[in-house]
């Protein structure tokens, strides 16, 4: 239903929006929800507000059109590499590219099926192979799919604390889609929730400078001395 590339090899100059979909079946409703959220967020970012003609308004982060690069990561395609990373401690090139994309994003849409009261094991394993400091300040929209709406709170008792622990910034609205949501055109609140969450994420992505940052993997902790801080000198 969308024209998004699953593997976008390189980004251009726009804001970097990364989508992680942990659905296992193909086609999957998790991917369907991910695509709806991506489309809604992209629309919000690309639309010009009333004062878009003013160059200064871009800096206010409110209303100028924002270019956006989208990268969609299907964890199913990386499932073996994720397991291998857990066993060997390093990521194969394709997985490393996905980790780098998430790490350097201006915004993340994370969508998982709810399995046995929580995010799927594959989703958690992917998070586990990312450095625990790599997602600091990352704006995140959390979303999930499940058979019934009874599990919708898993987003708030499992997904949200996971990203809070990682010091990511999770937008207030999370989106849960039960099977029934896909069949009720009139009266369904799913499109409203998607729109509200997308607006919240877009506002944070507009002002994020994460993708422009340069990390230093060899930065020494402040105060580090190669001879120690005691009587050793």
């Amino acid at each position: 239903m969308t024209g998004f590339d699953v593997e976008t090899p390189s980004f251009s100059a726009g804001k970097k929006l990364v989508v992680v979909s942990a659905g296992l079946s193909q086609p999957s409703s998790t991917r369907l929800l991910a695509d709806r959220l991506t489309e809604a967020t992209t629309d919000r970012l690309r639309e010009s507000g009333p004062s878009a003609e003013s160059a200064g308004s871009a800096r206010s982060g409110e209303s100028a059109a924002t270019e956006v690069d989208i990268r969609i990561i299907e964890l199913r395609d990386l499932a073996h590499d994720i397991t291998n990373n857990l066993l060997t401690g390093f990521a194969a090139p394709k997985l490393q590219a996905a980790i780098d994309a998430v790490t350097n994003a201006d915004g993340l849409i994370a969508v998982t099926p709810i399995f046995t009261t929580s995010y799927s094991g594959l989703f958690k394993s992917f998070i586990d192979v990312i450095d625990t400091t790599a997602l600091t300040d990352l704006p995140v929209l959390i979303a999930a799919t499940g058979g019934t709406e009874r599990h919708s709170l898993a987003l708030d008792y499992a997904m949200r604390p996971l990203f809070t622990y990682l010091h990511a910034v999770v937008v207030p609205t999370s989106v849960y889609a039960a099977s029934a949501d896909w069949g009720s055109a009139e009266g369904s609140t799913l499109p409203d929730r998607i729109g509200r969450a997308a607006g919240e994420l877009a506002a944070l992505v507009r002002v994020s400078d994460r993708s422009g940052r340069v990390g230093d993997p060899f930065a020494l902790p402040s105060g580090f001395s190669p001879v120690g801080g005691f009587g050793a000198q």
Binding site: T83, N84, L87, T88, G89, F90, A92, P93, P217, F218, A219, L220, P221, F224, S225, P226, V227, G228, F230, G231, A232, Q233
Partner: protein
């Protein structure tokens, strides 16, 4: 350029027949492997230190002294000695003792270990891993370079008027390597002292180690020990060989698939592509390792892991025949070709003694200049 072996001393069931060496057999196999290393013309044998099953090597200096008594030229080293949980005073004494017994054929590689519970077992906190490595080595270095030491730190009892005995052979301590797989602090420490830096290199992609070694080389130069190209670098490697490439793959695959570190994970083919593991003909191993200096610069020591994952001793000894007779002689020629004259050779006791004497003569003959103060030995023996 020095070539040799490093071993982790694992006792692993041979997956092809279900047999497992006893600890006694494994310990004796380490000795047989070290003697074979000398016999086939390798330069170095390095032994790990572990304090948990399935590893047998908890006491490397004891083992290395026994090997020293049965060898003539083999340089004995460690991979690694735990600078975090051992008392640095005991490391200073144990390795000085070994150095005397082995007539200088000794150096040592510092490491932090890879098993979390070792810290609490030895009364330490794993969160202090880096501070322990930094402080303990600062004390070890002082004990080897100063006769009488007053010292106070955070992690051990203070020392007043202490002299570690015996003093290092010829007053030249064993050369020190620092091993690390990811910590820039340890690369920084190695560079600060002008010590060697060893990148295990066998379990992760080379790009990671290229960055870490590049960082160490830059900092070595920054601290005035020489140019970045003159920094002392060691690399790990891993190979399994047969005359025909496919025979090597078929013979090694069950060991790979069930190995403690990477077994039941990536395929042998993927792992060979992503790490320096080379399973194939001797020529394939030569080609792979001759290419290492393209990535890491000219370096001083190449160690191979050859005896693990349950490989029988007989197979390991056959592998060493191939390594020593067919691979290393060719690699020596390859590494010598176009090697800049100012890149140091692998460190030996004789070379360090000669350097110390030359430096002392120079210091007597001339007033101190900036140039000779930047010399490696002068720097650490000040």
């Amino acid at each position: 350029m020095q070539f040799g072996l490093f071993t982790v001393s694992d006792v692993t069931t041979d997956p092809t027949n279900g047999t497992t060496m006893t600890e006694h057999e494994r310990i004796k196999s380490l000795v047989a492997i070290a003697k074979k290393a000398e016999e086939v013309g390798l330069d170095v044998f390095a032994l790990g230190e572990h304090h948990n099953e399935p590893f047998v090597s908890s006491s490397p200096t004891t083992t290395l002294a026994y090997i020293a008594a049965q060898t003539e030229s083999l340089l004995l080293s460690t991979s690694t000695t735990l600078i975090t949980t051992n008392d640095p005073v005991k490391i200073a004494e144990d390795f000085a003792m070994l150095q005397h017994l082995a007539d200088g054929r000794v150096d040592v590689m510092m490491g932090r270990g890879n098993t979390g519970p070792v810290y609490p077992w030895f009364g330490k906190d794993i969160r202090d891993g880096i501070p322990l490595a930094i402080e303990n080595y600062a004390l070890l270095n002082k004990l080897w370079h100063e006769h009488t030491v007053d010292w106070q730190g955070k992690f051990r009892t203070p020392l007043q008027g202490f002299t570690s005995t015996p003093r290092p052979l010829d007053d030249v301590p064993p050369f020190v390597w620092h091993g690390s797989i990811r910590s820039p602090e340890i690369a920084e420490q190695a560079a600060y002292y002008g010590d060697g830096f060893f990148a295990n290199n066998i379990f992760w992609p080379k790009e990671h180690y290229m960055q870490l070694i590049g960082y160490y080389r830059q900092r070595f130069e920054h601290y005035g020990h020489g140019t970045a190209a003159q920094a002392i670098v060691g690399l790990g490697g891993q190979a399994f060989m047969a005359k025909k490439s496919q025979d090597a793959v078929n013979q090694f695959r069950p060991y790979f698939d069930n190995a403690p570190v990477y077994g039941h994970g990536p395929s042998l083919e993927d792992f060979m592509e992503q790490t320096p593991l080379t399973v194939g003909s001797p020529q394939e191993v030569i080609d792979r390792y001759a290419g290492m200096r393209e990535y890491f610069g000219d370096y001083q020591r190449q160690l191979f892991l050859m005896d693990h994952a349950g490989l029988p001793l007989k197979t390991v000894l056959e592998q060493l025949d191939i390594l020593g007779e067919e691979v290393v002689p060719v690699l020596r020629k390859e590494f010598a070709t176009n090697r800049p004259a100012d890149v140091p050779d692998g460190p030996t006791h004789a070379a360090l003694v000669a350097r110390k004497v030359a430096d002392e003569d120079a210091a007597r003959a001339l007033p101190k200049t900036k140039e000779n103060s930047s010399d490696l030995v002068a720097e650490v023996t000040k």
